[in-house]
């Protein structure tokens, strides 16, 4: 019947669990103290008390508890915001330089995620072995060749499939970006935004239907490498007690920072970047300087596509990808871009993190009990408030996309 807890955890067989187990057992009493100090909320509707719980210091240290909660939510916001920022960054890049409203950008994010799926499928190309355990009909199970041939090393490569698939995703996504720009988008630079929306939306639908055709509609589970799965105690880092947070999410946040820095460094430090920035500031002038912007645009599109793709690759362990993933992020990413200010790269990043954090904080039970449903509308509410207070978003320039 009920197994003893330690044996059970071991049985799950994730290597990382074993060393942390003793540590965790040691923590248990401390946690218990914190638990009791939080008090047992039994009436889920006592809003006032909850308010007190977050905002007021109490002798028993409930501040520590609520601070923990707030820190955790900010962490949540950061990794969520990382994804928003990466998608919005590419969207803004395309918009700022090319002046194209790209409704297929969410689809690029989705394609990135499926690059990871494909890569891990390639790694696990398997021998089909007749599965004897199914007796009703002929069924086959599969054992990856990598494991068959290289044993543990092979298995390790399979385990690290998601981060490794970045290697596949960058060239593939850049190529997809090139193809999209050369084959379709470039014919739409001079067309109205409405037509750009229609054609890129059509493209997004086509792309997702193609993915559905090959991968089905069900979400596909992707796992983080074992060493980065599970959660880490980062309480020590920030000087608070007992904050454990999923490791992969921390990785994702750092990854997004790295990619954002790389994009900014590229734009600031290279001649190419200078031209692109000049193009974002004043496209006509750059054209007059006799610089071949066409070529540059293609490369910009490739970069934007790769950034969206990378965001998708690394997001797969957090969100099991399905063909619909892009559409789910589409509206959100546009809100992020607009809140940041059309055409402003720092604005897109800032808005991404800001909305991520606000969304997380609004999901706290304490806040939901004061304003029911706030977590469902917070993003849009913030968008409305920002746009009414700052007409062109947080960092937008005058005259861009206002007509």
């Amino acid at each position: 019947m009920a197994e003893t807890p330690p044996a059970r955890s071991l049985e799950i067989g994730r290597a990382v669990l074993v060393p942390t187990l003793t540590q965790r057992l040691a923590e248990a009493p401390a946690r218990k103290v914190a638990d009791t100090s939080l008090g047992k909320p039994n009436g889920a509707d006592d809003a006032a008390r909850r308010c007190t719980r977050i905002f007021q210091t109490s002798a028993e240290g409930s501040l520590v508890g609520s601070m923990d909660a707030i820190i955790l939510q900010i962490l949540n916001g950061l990794d969520k915001g990382g994804a928003y920022a990466l998608i919005a960054l590419g969207l803004t890049l395309i918009f700022g330089t090319l002046g194209v409203v790209n409704f297929a950008h969410g689809a690029l994010f989705m394609l990135g995620a499926f690059c990871a799926v494909t890569f891990s499928r390639l790694l696990t190309i398997s021998e089909r072995v007749r599965d004897e355990s199914v007796t009703f009909f002929e069924a086959y199970k599969e054992i990856p060749y990598l494991t068959l041939w290289y044993g543990d090393t092979g298995q390790a490569i399979v385990d690290w499939a998601v981060p490794l698939s970045i290697l596949l995703a960058i060239p593939v996504m850049v190529l997809i970006g090139f193809a999209m720009e050369r084959g379709l988008i470039r014919f739409f630079y001079k067309r109205s935004h409405a037509e750009q929306i229609l054609v890129t939306f059509g493209l997004a639908i086509v792309l997702q239907e193609i993915v559905k055709y090959f991968f089905g509609a069900n979400p596909i589970p992707m796992t983080a490498p074992p060493a980065l799965a599970g959660s880490a105690d980062i309480g020590a880092l920030v000087g608070a007690s007992n904050i454990s947070y999923p490791m992969w999410r921390i990785v994702y946040f750092l990854f997004s920072l790295a990619v954002i820095s790389m994009v900014f460094a590229f734009l600031q430090l290279t001649t190419f970047g200078m031209v692109v920035r000049a193009g974002m500031a004043d496209r006509e002038t750059v054209g007059l300087l006799g610089i071949n912007i066409g070529r540059k645009f293609t490369i910009v599109f490739g970069i934007a596509s790769a950034v969206a793709g990378l965001a998708g690759v690394m997001y797969t362990p957090i969100l099991a990808p399905n063909y619909h993933l892009g559409m789910d992020f589409l509206v959100l990413s546009f809100v992020v871009v607009v809140v940041g200010g059309m055409g402003s790269l720092p604005g897109a990043v800032l808005a991404g993190f800001l909305l991520g954090i606000l969304q997380s904080l609004a999901s706290m039970t304490e806040i939901k009990s004061i304003v029911p449903g706030i977590d469902q509308i917070i993003i849009y509410l913030v968008a409305v408030v920002v746009l009414l207070v700052r007409p062109r978003g947080l960092m937008g320039r005058r005259g861009v996309m206002e007509a």
Binding site: V101, L184, F187, F188, R191, H193, A194, E195, I197, L198, V199, F201, G202, L203, A204, I205, V206, Q208, E209, I210, Y213, V331, F334, V335, V338, M342, P372, G373, Q376, I377, Y380, L381, A383, V384, L387, L388, P391, R392, G393, M401, E402, A403
Partner: protein
């Protein structure tokens, strides 16, 4: 009322004589009918009405000759017509019009529940509520323009949708959708002793399901079309086109543009409310899905697909999209095998293999491809395609006409 207007119109046009602008109309059709004569307007209206009312006959061969889909054609036609008044005439792209569609539906169902199953009361209420809602959202959103305006409308609609789905369930009945039931008060019906047993909306005794429902929607579509035509030809419509063309000049010409835009926004919101109300009238259930951004996006796509700023385009775009959604999605492999039955067996299988990814569960693929093809090859939407085709048919005669105008 409308009759007196018509007579006045006729007299006027007689009095005015034929201006050069009239003969110019065929060429300028892509533009607007602002300068077109009332005679050609009424001809168009008559043809439109005839085509709509005979849809059950001429759409039957392609599998769309049944009441529900024709109701949808008419209802979404009204929705798109109204949307076009804002987007097509004034150039302001709202990404939140589904909010008014949903509001209209909820308002209509609440009228069914509280007052009476009479469609007229429900529709008036639906239009009014959607209009007020549009006034509020429009007043705030129109403080911004361009994509900032679009995102504001989107944000309001998404908030409405999310709340309707969850927190506002007491009003909207959430995911399941608001329905009528036998235990509703229906004060008026009970007062006049005619509680409708089945809970079917009626129009003074005529139950509005099936074919009567379609004709009811169709007549409202024709009225909506007529009204849109009038708006387009009015000074108000001219002002909207002028705003779309050059808002700066409008300001320096002494026009406060925002009242015009707000009026257009509210009018198109009321069209959406009427469409939403009709959805409830033909099928008394209002769900939150109607307010989702995808529904807002759908009407944008319908309008662009049909032809932005044209009169007929949005109606055609709406019908094409609903047709794909309803009919293409229903073509399964069995249907395809029957369709290609005339071919030899091997070829038949081949054709089925080729076609099947595009129909049935693949209908979205066709939709996406169609969007792309239309935008790439027909920048003005389906209307542009029709114009080109008719231009080719007319051939030399058309060219001669144009030359004649040029020499005028």
């Amino acid at each position: 009322m409308s009759e007196s207007v018509m007579t006045r119109d006729k007299n006027m046009s007689k009095g005015m004589g034929r201006s050069p602008a009239e003969s110019h109309a065929p060429k300028g059709e892509g533009l607007r009918g602002f300068m077109s004569s009332s005679r050609s307007d009424y001809l168009l209206l008559a043809i439109f009405a005839l085509a709509i009312l005979t849809m059950p006959i001429w759409l039957a061969p392609i599998g769309a000759g049944y009441p529900d889909i024709l109701q949808k054609f008419a209802i979404f036609g009204i929705f798109a017509l109204g949307f076009n008044i804002l987007f097509g005439f004034s150039g302001y792209l709202s990404f939140g019009h589904a909010a008014f569609l949903g509001t209209g539906s909820y308002a209509a169902v609440w009228m069914f529940k509280l007052l009476s199953m009479n469609a007229l009361i429900a529709l008036i209420f639906a239009i009014a509520v959607a209009g007020v809602f549009a006034l509020l959202i429009g007043y705030v959103s129109l403080r911004r323009s361009g994509i900032y305006f679009s995102i504001l409308t989107l944000a309001f609609a998404q908030m409405s949708y999310n709340l309707a789905y969850s927190v506002l369930t007491p009003i909207t009945n959430g995911e399941t959708g608001l329905q009528v039931s036998g235990s509703d008060p229906r004060i008026l019906d009970h007062m006049f002793g005619s509680p409708s047993g089945r809970g079917t909306p009626d129009f003074f005794g005529m139950e509005l399901q099936g074919w009567p429902g379609f004709y009811f929607c169709a007549i409202l579509l024709i009225l909506a079309f007529f009204l849109t035509m009038r708006i387009r030809n009015s000074t108000f419509g001219l002002m909207l086109f002028a705003i779309k063309s050059n808002q700066n000049r409008m300001n320096y010409t002494g026009f406060a543009t925002r009242p015009y835009l707000l009026a257009a926004f509210v009018i198109s919101g009321m069209y959406a409310g009427l469409a939403g109300g009709l959805l409830a009238v033909t099928d008394p259930l209002a769900g939150a899905d109607r307010m989702q951004w995808t529904a807002s996006g759908e009407v944008v796509l319908m309008t662009i697909l049909g032809g932005v700023g044209t009169l007929l385009g949005p109606v055609i775009g709406a019908a094409v999209m609903k047709y794909l959604e309803q009919i293409f999605s229903s073509f399964n492999e069995g249907f395809l095998h029957r369709a290609f039955d005339f071919l030899p067996s091997g070829l038949q299988d081949f054709m089925v293999t080729i076609v099947s990814p595009f129909v049935g569960e693949g209908w979205h693929l066709t939709l996406g491809l169609m969007f792309m093809l239309v935008v790439i090859f027909l920048p003005g939407g389906i209307m542009e395609g029709l114009r080109r085709v008719s231009g080719r048919f007319k051939g030399d005669r058309g060219a001669a006409d144009t030359a004649a105008h040029a020499g005028h």
